[in-house]
């Protein structure tokens, strides 16, 4: 049993070897849970994944993707149901005392930009969700960073971040960046209103339909003190330096392996 962002759940497997590996699939920030679980996940030896008894996914048995898929299922469930939190699909780094939030769909180049920002000196907060608490702060959600590259499959290439460069404290948003990768594009962003920023965040908010009041509050709180910029981007490294300069923290191109 584990607890993460206020949600207690249990996870089980009928395969001993898989069972021993389950901690690797648990959501960021998990800790042993107590009390009554509100969700139960199971990974079966035949590759089936269930949530509260319902089949939700199927993977090749013994593949590296099995635990990854279970992890994705649990994180998605958490993102929908974690009490007191609103999850927005976004990459987040910290720089200059505030957070840079990069909302985006899968395959929009969000993780690549997050990795470039971390290489340039920003602290890593998340490459999957901006987790907004009741005070409108973004909580760290440091899922192991993994960058998709051609030929590396869906799981991407693990990109470890040094522990001192991983955010540990909730932080207010200072910059919301609406962007996606387009080869050959020159980074020339335009400013948007905070209302436009909040509206764009709502597009990527998991609870937008199931908890619309909380979702509206969260995206507005997040935008209230943030600058909002929008534009197509080319290569991530140049954009990362520009974004850090925007927040007052110049890029330093620090290396991490």
């Amino acid at each position: 049993m584990f607890e993460s962002f206020g949600l207690t759940a249990e996870v089980a497997s009928d395969d001993r070897e898989v069972f021993d590996s389950l901690p690797a699939a648990l959501p960021p920030g998990w800790r042993p849970g107590r009390g009554e679980a509100v969700a139960r996940f199971e990974l079966f030896a035949d590759g089936r994944i269930t949530c509260d008894g319902d089949d939700v996914a199927h993977t090749e048995t013994g593949s590296d993707a099995t635990l990854q898929k279970l992890g994705a299922v649990m994180r998605h469930h958490l993102a929908e149901h974690a009490p007191g939190h609103v999850f927005i699909h976004a990459g987040v780094v910290c720089a200059g005392g505030t957070a840079i939030v990069i909302p985006g769909r899968s395959h929009s180049g969000k993780t690549t930009l997050v990795a470039a920002l971390v290489r340039a000196g920003a602290s890593y907060c998340s490459d999957e969700y901006a987790v907004v608490d009741a005070a409108g702060l973004i909580e760290p959600y440091p899922k192991p960073l993994s960058v998709r590259v051609p030929g590396a499959g869906l799981l991407g290439v693990p990109t470890p971040v040094p522990a001192p460069q991983i955010a540990t404290q909730p932080i207010r948003a200072g910059l919301i960046v609406l962007t996606s990768y387009h080869a050959e594009s020159q980074w020339s962003p335009k400013s948007l209103t905070r209302g436009e920023g909040a509206f764009a965040l709502l597009e990527h908010t998991l609870a937008a339909r199931s908890r619309p009041g909380a979702a509206l509050r969260a995206v507005c709180q997040l935008s209230r003190e943030a600058s909002v910029i929008s534009g197509r981007r080319g290569e991530a490294s140049a954009v990362a330096d520009a974004l850090l300069a925007f927040t007052g923290e110049s890029g330093s191109n620090q290396q991490f392996s």
Binding site: E80, S106, H107, T193, A198, F199, A208, R217
Partner: protein, 153 residues
């Protein structure tokens, strides 16, 4: 069609959730499962539609915010846009599209479209909020700017 002098638009509030950010409003329509963003002038007109104010009164309210840019055309464009998104309860019936476009063109001819004038133009952007899976994967075509009231079955 009521004459402009007798119009007393009343903003719809039932079934709506709203949050303000920097003078703009985000509105969630629980009945139609649609989210809207009202820019500053659209938000001001919507909030001022109390069922008592006439179009001339709404011009006066808007004048306090945007100065001489405000006129009857601007208010009528705002009301048409708000009605498009089902944000008017009563006291106003959306005009036909050509009448609305004419008001917009006449306003732009008068004030131009640069700088403050562009900010004053009422904008209501609509979006069908994503289901949870789509917010993550982006595989669902949920992001639709609406030009007319969007009905969900």
């Amino acid at each position: 069609m009521l004459s402009k002098k007798t119009l007393r638009p009343l903003a719809r509030t039932d079934g709506l959730l709203s949050e303000e950010v920097d003078g703009e409003l985000l509105v969630y329509d629980e009945d139609n499962v649609v989210a809207c963003r009202l820019n500053g002038s659209a938000a001001l007109v919507w909030r001022s539609c109390d069922g008592k104010r006439s179009v001339a009164d709404l011009v006066a309210v808007l004048t306090e915010e945007v100065g001489e840019l405000a006129d009857e055309d601007l208010v009528m464009v705002a009301l048409d846009t708000l009605a498009d998104h089902d944000l008017i309860e009563s006291g106003y019936q959306r005009r036909d599209a050509e009448a609305s476009r004419f008001s917009r063109r006449r306003f732009i001819r008068r004030v131009g479209i640069a700088g403050a004038a562009s900010i004053a133009v009422p904008v209501v952007a609509g979006m069908v909020p994503p289901v949870a899976a789509a917010a993550t994967s982006g595989t669902y075509p949920y992001y639709i700017f609406l030009t007319a009231r969007h009905q969900h079955s």
